[in-house]
Amino acid sequence: MTLDSKAPTGPIEKRWDQHRFDIKLVNPANKRKFRILVVGTGLAGASAAATLAELGYNVEAFTFHDSARRAHSIAAQGGINAAKNYQNDGDSIWRLFYDTVKGGDYRSRESNVYRLAQVSVEIIDQAAAQGVPFAREYGGLLDNRSFGGAQVSRTFYARGQTGQQLLLGAYQALSRQVQAGKVKLHRRKEMMDVVVADGQARGIVVRDLTTGKITSHAGDAVVLATGGYGTVFFLSTNAKNCNVTAAWRAHKRGAYFANPCFTQIHPTCIPVSGDYQSKLTLMSESLRNDGRIWVPSNADESRRPNDIPEDERDYYLERRYPSFGNLVPRDVASRAAKKVCDQGRGVGPTGLGVYLDFADAIRRVGRPAIEAKYGNLFEMYEKITGEDPYEVPMRIYPAIHYTMGGLWVDYNLMTSIPGLYALGEANFSDHGANRLGASALMQGLADGYFVLPYTIGDYLAPRMGETVDTSHPAFAETERAVAERLDRLLSIDGSRTVDDFHRALGKLVWDYCGMERTEEGLNEALQKIPALREEFWSDLKIVGTADSLNQSLEKAARVADFFELAELMCKDALDRDESCGAHFRVKHQHEDGEAKRNDEDYSYVSAWEATDNGDWTLHKEELDFEYVKQTQRSYK
């Protein structure tokens, strides 16, 4: 199959309008004759399900959570971008488009990004009308802040809980449609596989997590909004239950997986405290505005931070990047921290941490000012570490935060399986090789509220009157395969727990396919991961049964998929013999440590097709940049 992005041509500002005019529509009276299955009820899924239902479609929504309000989107802190230009500081749709393409290091599709910037404006209107309590100024109008190094203030926020408020808005819109009977919500149902019948996505197979019952559901189209796969690393800022299963199962059924090696690292997370650690907590990036980052100059430092004299401290970011200092971009700051820790100068019990020191700021502006600005972050830090950051420097370390890769989709958000769509973090998205802060919420909601509800009509319109039910043999077959796989996991009865394996896998991926990647390392990982996978399938231990609530079994099925994904990530990272955005091949860097792109050879989206023998074939979607010229970033 050839990759057709279906991206329109013509003047970029007109493309989305023109496209909406060109695609087929489903007549309002006919919408109720279609049933759409939406898997995932995070920002992307809930907004899509609600909007489709408002339009008149019958929607069945699925989530493995007990409520749509629990999706991982709830945890987003910083904010959501939109090209409103309310601050009159020169922002525009064009500028947001430009920043996003550039920020993504020229590995995204221009048409998609422009559309994203266009609808960003409507998202804020919609959210405000739903009652999302965004921060406001004294005049009652919306407040904005500048985020992640942007030169304009275009980020809308609700204190440090923007994701929560936006998700609750979408959840409430969804609840309204549940009440209206237009959405049937299936809670605690995990999608285990997609059913592809006669070359089209026709339904899904789910497992009821409380009873273990496996059932099939048929629909005219299937929409996956199942989030990102950052938890392949075991330790990440993502919620514990995030997983790749839905996307991966779709991949195994024929959907291409794009850019899997594009994973983003956040530089300011609370470091690991011991090997029991189960997850990492993000500390807002804004801390870098006032905190100074340093490590001891000597590798064998044993004094407490406050006892280390000024001239034995290395403020390495300020030293290496005099003009940006502590505010260098996420990836640069992250790699610099790794470097000093590799030199043995890391701090804290594990040696994987650097200091983020507020002593100077407190001296300069006073404790109350710092308290007003970061009070709740300091409190959170103290809760977790038991240390008072007003007195001793914070310790931070980079952690996996977001995955730009995901299911390959065309301009209509359809995957390479007809009738199967992917939204939000689950698709390979509009962020290219690197996502800008506050743009994930924007993209998830753009997809769900404003893109999919229109584009899905193009697929559905000609399919009026086709019968869709679970009688096709593909359903029974898929159900059987799902049950067999679970039975196989249960019957291993080995000697290691799921978490044990997941942790080991995560460490492999982090070490070889994390912040920095080398050819040797990736090749080594490509040996080690399959070996560990073998062990997983022969030495796993799960207690309990498949026909009852069994959290270990749930985890095991997800980890099994992570093993396969991890391998593909390494393969993708190996193929991309350049550095771009968050993908950093040590060999390809400028003297200042900046990623060195190779536009000549790698201006493409890697879309991987799973082959029957457990291997993959690479398809390349070439990227053209008509509007934003490819230049190198520099933070010196």
């Binding site: 609600a50 408002e54 959570h65 007990d66 409520s67 309000r69 629990r70 991982h72 709830i74 945890a75 309310y86 409507e122 209107d125 919609q126 405000a128 009308a129 739903q130 009652g131 309590p133 965004f134 406001r136 004294y138 005049g139 009652g140 109008l141 809980q161 929560q164 408020q165 609750l168 409430q172 819109a173 609840s175 309204r176 549940v178 009440q179 409380t210 919620a239 514990k240 239950n241 405290s273 029991y276 650690q277 189960s278 997850k279 907590t281 959170m380 809760k383 977790i384 570490t385 038991g386 509220y449 404003f450 000697s495 727990t497 978490d499 231990k541 207690v543 309990g544 609530l549 959290q551």
Partner: protein
């Protein structure tokens, strides 16, 4: 640290449950409470016993999944802290800790410490939204919202739906949860058109879900990890009584 745990074990919704005792050594004070349970669960698994089921996801106090009674207090009783944010350094070496699921007729136990909180969703479904279809919204700055209202609405909206308020309330009331959503929307101009119907419907649904009544014990606000206060309950009471007694259905009509 050495910890003795007494944990409620219940195989399924219809099974009988009991408290089981577990001894754990080598607990690090830097472990979170849930990590301590993770370690215990791995041990149990290797011994061939079923691990303890508890709900969790974000582990940073925002998703509202986690929560159980720890020594008789919802989430363990640390100020503005969910169970997942609680760390073992809050306990003494040698401590004995009792862990029980939320107890409420509206929250049936599914297994061990996991309960079913769908009643909360049904309360929201009954009216916890502004009825606005996608695409029909005016420009976001068309309707200014006084900053004080926006902030108060935000405070109400920070509820994470964890259910600790219900679990701790001597009456098993869901007034704090319900009033938080009622107040969030009723405080905003966008919420005015449906203000009184919303309150009426949400209170009615709350009553239907076999929650108890509020006799102002203030336990809920003490354990609420988001610091939602009972002022919102009074607001809800007021809007409800007004809706019922003065025939107030909409803000501007009549």
């Amino acid at each position: 640290m050495h910890i003795t745990l007494h944990v409620w074990r219940q195989a399924g919704p219809d099974a009988d449950g009991t408290m089981e005792k577990y001894e754990i050594d080598d607990v690090s004070p830097d472990m979170s409470f849930l990590e301590m349970l993770d370690v215990l669960n791995d041990d149990l698994t290797l011994k061939g016993e079923e691990p303890i089921v508890f709900e969790h996801d974000c582990r940073e106090g925002i998703c509202g999944s986690c929560g159980f009674m720890i020594n008789g207090v919802a989430h363990g009783g640390k100020h503005h802290t969910t169970a997942c944010q609680l760390h073992m350094r809050s306990f003494e070496d040698g401590a004995t800790i009792y862990i029980e699921p939320w107890r409420s007729a509206a929250f049936p136990v599914l297994k061990d410490l996991m309960v079913d909180r769908n009643a909360f969703d049904r309360i929201i479904e009954s009216g916890g939204y502004v009825s606005v279809n996608t695409g029909s919204a005016p420009d976001a700055n068309e309707i200014p919202v006084p900053k004080a209202n926006a902030e108060r609405a935000f405070e109400a909206a920070t509820c994470i739906g964890c259910g600790a308020c219900v679990a701790q309330c001597p009456n098993g009331a869901a007034h704090l949860f319900t009033s938080a959503k009622v107040s969030h929307l009723n405080l905003l101009p966008q919420g005015q058109p449906e203000r009184f119907q919303r309150t009426e419907k949400m209170v009615a649904q709350m009553e239907e879900e076999s929650f108890g009544s509020c006799t102002n014990h203030r336990e809920c606000e003490a354990v609420c990890p988001k610091g939602i206060d009972i002022d919102f309950i009074a607001r809800m009471n007021r809007d409800y009584l007004r809706a019922q007694t003065m025939g107030r259905k909409t803000q501007n009509y009549r």
